[in-house]
């Protein structure tokens, strides 16, 4: 529709596309120097700015379980580049405040960005110097808002985060995914873990009649059992992982460890053995 009366009554010129209705070859040169140029600010139509990505370097499952006295989490030390096991010493469990641990699965560069955001937030809180530090539920809500606002801009942080901690003597365990969906549960498992490990975690809690009846040693045993199953069945996992324990005494992230696995039976199977 031509809004300009001076153009009425005359034949329309096909060279002019005033409203950027179709892509027109731009003469600006080969290498774009800015997003504004690509978008076509100031002259003929450029490309629309696009956001929504796909994850590149990724971490697999993160597990978490509440026990009597705190929360325990587990994550392996692998960051995959598609099917390539690229980085084999990545710490996907990260201590945030005195009583909080963040576990990250999904895109590792977005995880690094979130670590930076949380560090900045902790510094701001420290500068306020009012005797308060951010507690686990506070960090959880902050992280939820960050994830939700990014998804609402159609430019998500491609992660599923697990946040574990202790607050007012009670354990706290929650997850937030890339779409900003938050949920809390006595046991959490992301990625493949939600299919392979979560049933084991829930059964163990049920058998003991609740998370109050799980001791710290029990929790470690249960998580190691799950990590073993994940190493057997998740093709993007590694048998080198860390456990993080959060209790009233604080946070302790273990050194990397492995679980015993059995492969000898394969010798007896036609097609797999020697």
């Amino acid at each position: 529709m031509d809004h300009f009366p001076t153009n009425w009554g005359n034949p329309r010129s096909e060279d002019v596309d005033s409203y950027n209705t179709y892509p027109v070859a731009s003469h600006s040169g080969t290498v774009p120097h800015s997003v504004r140029q690509i978008a076509g600010f100031g002259h003929a139509a450029g490309h629309p700015t696009s956001h929504t990505q796909q994850p590149v370097v990724t971490g697999t499952s993160v597990l978490g379980i509440k026990y009597n006295g705190g929360v325990m989490m587990a994550a392996d030390n692998l960051a995959s580049y598609g099917s390539l096991a690229r980085f084999r010493d990545v710490e996907r469990l990260h201590q945030v405040a005195d009583f909080t641990v963040l576990g990250a699965s999904g895109d590792m560069s977005d995880y690094q960005y979130v670590k930076h955001l949380l560090d900045s937030q902790m510094i701001k809180e420290y500068n306020a110097d009012d005797g308060h530090t951010l507690a686990t539920p506070n960090i959880y809500e902050y992280l939820w808002r960050v994830m939700y606002n990014r998804r609402s801009k159609m430019n998500p942080l491609w992660n599923t985060f697990v946040l574990g901690g202790v607050h007012k003597g009670e354990g706290f365990l929650g997850a937030i995914d890339l779409k900003g969906t938050p949920y809390q549960s006595p046991s959490i498992a992301t990625g493949f873990g939600s299919h392979l490990a979560q049933p084991i975690l829930r059964k163990e809690i049920e058998n003991r009649g609740g998370e109050e009846n799980i001791t710290e040693e029990d929790a470690a045993q249960i998580l190691k059992k799950c990590m073993k199953v994940l190493f057997y069945r998740d093709a993007r996992s590694m048998n080198k992982f860390q456990l993080a324990r959060i209790s009233a005494e604080g946070v302790k992230i273990s050194e990397p460890m492995s679980v015993e696995t059995e492969w000898a039976f394969a010798e007896k199977i036609r097609g797999y053995g020697a």
Binding site: R151, P182, H195
Partner: protein
């Protein structure tokens, strides 16, 4: 071999067509909620299961929130959107209280929610809201919404994944539809029994409904919360 529709062209060679991969910001976290208005009370009930596809995220994530002593809101659909919307309502109610020196009435919250939903008409909150409470006369009130803010006051409503299973039952038992029967006002006890039966039945047939049922009973005395077990399979 293939049936054609108008405008479709069938060719005998492969065709290059652009494919767009896009991030879908919405997710359906399932669950069912209902609200029934009585003579001098209102019941708001919802299950507590949060699902994602065929998985259960958590067995206890409450869908209902007490907004004031007279009003309870319940939301189903995309939990991230529902929780954001709940926070917006709570914050607006707090500002209202600071500005006017009184709590927002149920009818006022009802209209405000409609406006809030429509403000995101072109990127909606994917949430099915039911607002339950007492009106200014002390009578039970139920307000029903669609995701973009169309709202109406009703005597009872069910929303969420099992709404098509429960709503007809409510039409028959609460409003006496499709039966030759004397209409009578129902007591709180009768309404609670109908509510609990609705949820136990819906749990049997709807995979997204189950785990726990949280009941909010609003009377002139305030808001009382009950929690009961539902089947966890």
């Amino acid at each position: 071999m293939f049936s054609t529709y108008p405008g479709q062209v069938v060719v005998d060679h492969p065709v290059k067509v652009p494919i767009e991969h896009r991030f879908d910001p919405y997710v359906d976290n399932g669950g069912t909620l209902l609200s029934i208005a009585g003579e001098d009370f209102c019941v708001v009930a919802a299950d507590t299961r949060q699902s994602e596809g065929y998985s259960i995220n958590s067995r206890y994530v409450p869908k209902s929130v007490k907004l004031s002593d007279k009003t309870v809101i319940s939301m189903g659909g995309c939990y991230a959107d529902c929780l954001t919307l709940t926070k917006k309502i709570q914050q607006s109610m707090e500002w209202y209280h600071h500005a006017h020196g009184k709590t927002m009435s149920t009818a006022a919250v009802a209209q405000m929610l409609s406006i809030m939903l429509y403000q995101k008409r072109f990127f909606p909150f994917y949430s099915w809201c039911i607002l339950g409470g007492l009106d200014e006369e002390g009578k039970g009130a139920v307000y029903t919404y669609d995701p973009v803010g169309s709202y109406e006051r009703e005597s009872c409503r069910c929303a969420g994944s099992a709404s098509s299973l429960i709503q007809p039952f409510l039409d028959n038992q609460i409003n006496f539809k499709n039966q030759v029967s004397q209409k009578k006002t129902l007591s709180l006890d009768q309404v609670l029994r109908i509510t609990k039966d609705s949820f136990t039945s819906a749990t049997e047939r709807d995979i997204y409904t189950g785990d726990y049922l949280e009941l909010f009973v609003i009377t002139s005395k305030g808001v009382e919360v009950q929690k009961m077990d539902l089947k966890k399979d």
